[in-house]
């Protein structure tokens, strides 16, 4: 048994214990660890955004554009031509990058009450674009491809097992869809079908839960291995 001598291993181990102590009850160790965690996580993401977004996409192009201006005059930094001699308004080293920066800066208008409505512009841009591209994507993956997979064909009937499986999947899929049908009360013929649907859903959820248990235990095991092996050195 040789206990770790590394500073950061000790920090990690003590934080691990402090957070685990929350299982017993809220206590000052947990509160300290939680607040430290939130602070460091925020600081970490600021730094990453700085290096991965701000520097390469804002500062570098502006610096490049300033350089172009100092060498070739002001117009060159706005009107850059690409290799096909086509005007390229979105060349890297270009003051064009100021436009999205200005749009982004509208977020900050929230602090100025009289024009705070302008915050809706960057929000609208982001939402408009991403909601629009999400529609074909979700139609393709969750609807059209699932439709294709749901349709039975003669080749599914090659063996008895495949046939039974295929039919069962078909019927239970229909039942699940019926269960989520909001336009009608689950009465009459819909009642047994939607019951099959909810039972199928429950089997699916049970399976998910069962599978998850394994995943979560793995994580706890990982933590204990850290404590007993890396920190305390009790296990080889």
């Amino acid at each position: 048994m040789h206990i770790a001598t590394d500073f950061w291993t000790w920090v990690a181990a003590l934080l691990t214990l402090a957070i685990l102590s929350f299982l017993w009850d809220d206590n000052s160790f947990y509160r300290a660890a939680e607040h430290l965690y939130i602070g460091v996580a925020n600081g970490y993401s600021i730094t990453l955004i700085w290096y991965n977004v701000v520097v390469p996409n804002m500062i570098d192009p502006l610096r490049g554009a300033a350089h172009v201006v100092s060498e070739q005059g002001f117009a060159a930094a706005f009107f850059t031509f690409n290799e096909h001699n086509v005007l390229n308004p979105y060349h890297d080293n270009n003051f064009f990058i100021i436009i999205p920066m200005m749009v982004g800066a509208l977020y900050v208008t929230r602090f100025i009450p009289s024009i705070s409505w302008m915050i809706r512009i960057p929000i609208g841009i982001t939402m408009g674009y991403y909601t629009a591209i999400s529609i074909p994507a979700s139609f393709k993956a969750s609807i059209v491809r699932q439709l294709e997979a749901s349709i039975l064909s003669r080749s599914d009937f090659d063996s008895a097992w495949v046939l039974v499986y295929g039919l069962l999947i078909f019927v239970t899929t229909v039942a699940t869809l019926i269960y989520f049908f909001f336009s009608a009360e689950h009465k009459g013929v819909l009642r047994p079908i939607s019951n099959i649907g909810i039972l199928t859903v429950m089997v699916g959820f049970g399976a998910s839960f069962g599978l998850t248990v394994m995943a979560r235990i793995s994580l706890a095991i990982g933590r204990f291995i850290f404590i007993f092996k890396d920190w305390l050195g009790m296990v080889q």
């Binding site: 979700s138 997979a149 699916g204 995943a215 095991i221 007993f228």
Partner: protein, 300 residues
């Protein structure tokens, strides 16, 4: 107070007692491990192993989107290590990228670990050395996720002009010799993630660019991926620690010289004991429930 039977009390047991039991059951096998027989799942682990083993051209290219975070490390990290090992054994070029900053450290650690493993082995005369830039490239991280997912379908050099270490990506020998530009030049995407990223890859990368996608996923999300596995959108997958342990076994069977640490296999004994404990607890909970109901009926 007097009508509180043992069953009622057992049913409303303080959750801390459960926590203590679970901790003990988990810790003991870590200190005293035991070995267990294993069975490889055909549709998931074996299918994936075969797919990587049968990349159409030798020296294939495998893009690994390593989006594991430290939290899911015990499950996902062994998968990443196994994939890289398999690729290095088969001389498949490996591209690793991260969609989340939290994955960077682990992804780099995995590459380094496997590279050290191979290079140490090579120094004893077994296998070959692997070299950064020739056998693997670490692309690093570029937010938000949708940017690299879609962007790599068009042009990898636009999304990642430089690799993680700041090299001009176009100058790396492997990128030059394999003429890697977009998904079309890669054989498969392997998405290691604790969330639905493999499905995002299916929805965007596969739907738009037609590349094969596989997943290394936590056991929790496995159930979600079955529809995709069934419809052929996913080419095999690894199911949590169990899948990783199976993959480790397949690699050792195929490449007996592999002497790397098999982390998933190590964790499986504590895994089993805790499962048994939970199953016993659920049984106990139900026994208490029924006994209490019987007691109530008799009482009324």
């Amino acid at each position: 107070m007097e009508n509180k039977t043992i069953w009622t009390r057992m049913m409303n047991i303080d959750r801390r007692i459960i926590y203590v039991i679970v901790a003990i059951v988990m810790i003991l096998p870590i200190i005293f491990p035991f070995n267990l027989p294993m069975r490889v799942s055909k549709r998931t682990t074996q299918a994936l192993f075969d797919a990587i083993d049968n990349f159409p051209s030798e020296n294939g290219v495998f893009l690994i989107s390593a989006d594991l975070s430290p939290q899911d490390q015990p499950e996902l990290y062994p998968m990443l290590v196994s994939w890289i090992r398999h690729c290095f054994h088969r001389d498949i070029k490996v591209l690793v990228m991260c969609l989340y900053p939290t994955s960077l450290g682990l992804a780099e650690q995995a590459l380094n670990q496997v590279a050290t493993e191979f290079n140490n082995r090579a120094s004893t005369g077994i296998g070959r050395r692997v070299v950064y830039g020739e056998d693997f490239v670490f692309l690093g991280y570029k937010p938000p996720p949708i940017v690299p997912i879609l962007g790599l379908g068009e042009n990898i050099y636009e999304v990642y002009p430089r690799d993680f270490y700041g090299n001009d990506l176009r100058t790396l020998p492997m990128m030059v010799s394999k003429r890697i530009k977009s998904y079309r030049d890669m054989d498969m995407i392997g998405s290691i993630a604790a969330n639905s990223l493999p499905i995002t890859y299916v929805a965007y990368a596969q739907a738009r660019f037609g590349i094969r996608v596989t997943g290394g996923v936590t056991a929790v999300s496995v159930a979600d991926f079955y529809p995709y596995l069934d419809s052929g959108q996913l080419t095999g997958m690894l199911e949590g620690m169990k899948g990783a342990a199976e993959y480790e076994q397949l690699i050792v069977e195929k490449f007996p010289e592999d002497n790397g640490r098999r982390m998933a296999t190590e964790g499986m004994s504590a895994q089993s004991s805790t499962h048994i404990a939970i199953i016993l607890m659920i049984l106990l909970g139900n026994v208490c429930y029924f006994m209490q109901r019987r007691h109530e009926k008799r009482g009324i």
